[in-house]
Amino acid sequence: MIEKKKLNIALAGQANVGKSVIFNHLTGLHQHIGNWPGKTIEKAEGTLFYKGYTIDVLDLPGICSLSTYSIEELISREFIVIQRPDVVVNVVDGTVLERNLMFTLQLLELERPTVMALNMVNLLKKKGIEINFQRLEKILQIPVVPVEAIYGKGIAEILEAVMGLVKTEKPSKPLKFGKEVEVRIEELIQSLKDVDVSYPKRWLAIKLLEKDKEVEKLVKEKSQKILEEAKKLQKELEEIHKHDSSFVIAAERCFLASNIAKEVIKITAPKKISFTERLDSLTSHKILGYFVMILILGMMFLTVFKFGNWLSSVLENILIGWQGSWEGIFGSSILSSLIWSAIESLVALIEIALPYIVPFYFILFLLEDCGYLARIAFLVDNLMHKLGVHGKACIPLMLGFGCNVPACLSCRIMETQRERFITGFLVTFIPCSAITVIIMGLVGKFLGIGWALALYLFVFLTIFILGKIASKILPGEPTELIMSVPDYKFPHLKTVILQTWFRLREFLFIATPLVIISGVIIKGFYLAGWLGPIANSLSPITVQWLGLPTITGILLIFGILRKELVLVMLSVLLGTSNFAQVLSPVQMLTLALVSMLYIPCIATISALWKEFGWKRALGIATFKIMFAILIAGFVSKILLIFW
């Protein structure tokens, strides 16, 4: 028989345990970040070669349990049970072992061969914590490997432990609960004996007692009788414990975890106030914390904008040079200009990506990796609640000021689909750097900075009101912030760089096709002389309702490609950059407002598409067009009364 030379392993663990660092060590650049089929949840896979084996590694989403509150949790447990990875590597943060054990216990219930990678052992000594690894191995009956992921220590040992398990194929053994729970689990296992499902019977029984909706549905299809039996047993447990039966099981696990922790953990040194704790009391301080936050974020924005503006002007000059030589070689025939417009769109995309998105992501991941993002979420939670989302939403919203694309993609940090969508929707209203160019170049320059700021204020107010409305009308409850706070640590540069690189690759991958195709189409329309007629057909809206010149239609079409083209095309089509000669103050304000509010640019639409599906992406785009026309029309009519 040919020996099996291909292995599948899955990394599973709670958030902030250093899973991605271990993943990066294992797979290096051989990784591929995609989505789970039909879901907008990220799926990170990679490959490595070890002792003649090709090992596929899958990084399951960081979650806090295996019950079904979120899609991530459902995906993780289904993957483990249905796809049956050869080995599951449970990554655990040794400094908060007890909390992590709660998850480990659930993982053991899935009965796959399991290895525990006990990470952060380098921090144990500093914290005065001592863990008896042998004892832990004995209790859990799985190999426990001490790991210092940020120094790359213990990675080879994980692989060795995996190899050992592959040979024996020994499944993990769930730990036993208290007697009155255990009796009822046994009873259900007996009834489930003839039910044909891929899940372990004991796991099914536990989940039935926990009132897991997915499992109840699954069992109901097979046998209504077992479900009724489960209901009866739930009731019995509830009568004994005077608590919901799902809480009884959670408490059992908690009790087990706490007993294991007591047995294997020894706190040796009295805890003295460490540097990270002092840092924490400053950055999470009631009042000073806000100053520190404004300082850090201000510096982040300033760095990104300064760097971005500099790099994008450098890139632009290069592009202009290239256009000259392109026309010199290929002439300016229709075909040649069409091809050029494709190249131009691609280069323009890189002009957004390299100067703005890369530094934004880099700094963001740096802040995340050292643990500061969790503090920001703590500080602004209250403010974000007013928008119908919780603290973590501040990150995408902040990113939006640079570019809406990374902002939309970063909505993934929100837990529920509902929160993600509300945040993504609001992000598209945040004026990005290209819109800032329009506002400053049109309103700021000709009407004064006061009017420009007034427009910003107006948009913020709009975001506030829309956030309130969206959180009211969308089904589902607003979630409260529940977040474990990691200790501050020195960022792991390789992880930060890799994450930035994978995000950039992803951005180019999703945005490029749409941007190039639409760039060529609009150029084609332009060359065919169709833009004039299109602008004319839009005139009932642009001229009669909004009171703008007919060419506005053309501007707004170009603006879909890249927002700053509104301003660029205005000066091209009017043949002057002194807009005060051709536009009245009210027209300027109206045009600026429409540009701020109407359809997201094509790159943002593709990001929305990727995150929320095409229906919702087009929904947001349509809503924004209608909304912009409606609001800008009213504003212009009101302004005309006073002007």
Binding site: C64, M102, A251, A261, F378, D381, E477, L481, I482
Partner: protein, 78 residues
């Protein structure tokens, strides 16, 4: 019996024992999976201004909980 008070009424630096969680099913389970079950000892690390979230220490790890949810966790002060 000690009086049960909402977790949010504990002062910073003070500890309490969790007695019950009267939140929705989802939120309650989520908290329990993070180790916050009845009879667990917790310590208030900090509360933020303007009815913002509360940071607590539970089973050796730190947890931030939104104020509204934290108010539904009843504790006995110790």
């Amino acid at each position: 019996m000690e009086k049960r008070i909402p977790l949010t009424d504990l002062r910073e630096g003070h500890s309490g024992i969790v007695k019950s969680i009267n939140a929705g099913r989802m939120a309650t389970k989520r908290l329990m999976d993070l180790g916050l079950i009845p009879e667990t000892r917790i310590k208030i690390l900090r509360k933020s201004l303007f009815e913002g979230p509360v940071e607590i220490e539970v089973r050796g790890s730190k947890l931030v909980i939104g104020r509204g949810l934290a108010a539904k966790i009843l504790v006995e002060s110790i």
